[in-house]
Symmetry: C2
């Protein structure tokens, strides 16, 4: 479980954009809904734009729009856009290579953790932004 809230803010942002279809929203407006600073939103939007999930219009009357229909954006797309998935080192210092366990533990653990992470991502990959928007609408 990641320790930052970029993913939550990114999904929140995309849901707003998806519900106001075609209407560009400013970072300040989005920040008002998320309850944070507009610059935080712009950083998230910048990451989403690099992944080609949103586009931005600069200047007066500008703002951001979804680049794809919510039916074509998965939560995994969003997660990959905003969370650097550089898998952190298992151990902080490399373990003692003179010990059989020290030598063998890392590849073994890595394999298991990769399988576990793949299972987690499979759930996100099958959840569409459109479903999230539908659920939000349903609980009003």
């Amino acid at each position: 479980m990641s320790k930052n809230c970029r993913f939550a803010v990114a999904v929140h942002t995309c849901a707003l954009l998806g519900m106001e279809d075609g209407q560009p929203l400013t970072s300040e407006w989005i920040a008002g809904s998320v309850n944070t600073n507009p610059v935080v939103i712009r950083r998230i939007l910048s990451a989403l734009a690099k992944a080609e999930l949103v586009t931005s219009i600069r200047g007066s009357n500008g703002g951001s729009l979804l680049a794809k229909a919510p039916e074509h954006i998965t939560l995994l797309d969003i997660q990959r856009a905003v969370d650097d998935d550089d898998t952190p080192a298992l151990h902080n210092q490399p373990p003692n290579q003179k010990c059989p366990v020290g030598r063998g533990i890392q590849p073994v653990l890595r394999r298991v953790l990769d399988r576990a992470e793949a299972a987690r991502e499979a759930v996100l990959a099958t959840t569409l932004l459109a479903e999230v928007i539908g659920n939000i609408r349903a609980c009003q």
Copy 2:
């Protein structure tokens, strides 16, 4: 993906204990294999003991032992023992409740993330410490 290495150190420690069956290992010895400070190991062992996965013998000739056979310890047991699973708040500040999305986003997201986390834990729950030890032995 968690950002600390407690889980890796805990599995490493349990694998050592499981391979030296019956022989108590000192925190200093384990620290030599993990390549860290003995106090770090003792903290991990303390958490593992609270979860009744290991026992410790104090005093001279003391050390730690597995409390169960490696066939009866899953990686999920170990993870739960050393990682506080207090699910962090999705948003840092609660979102704006006057906005429909701000009101609805958190329960919806929480549900999806709980499902994703359950899928991840299912993999850890079906991986036994005994398998890890077997894999380490196999790649010597």
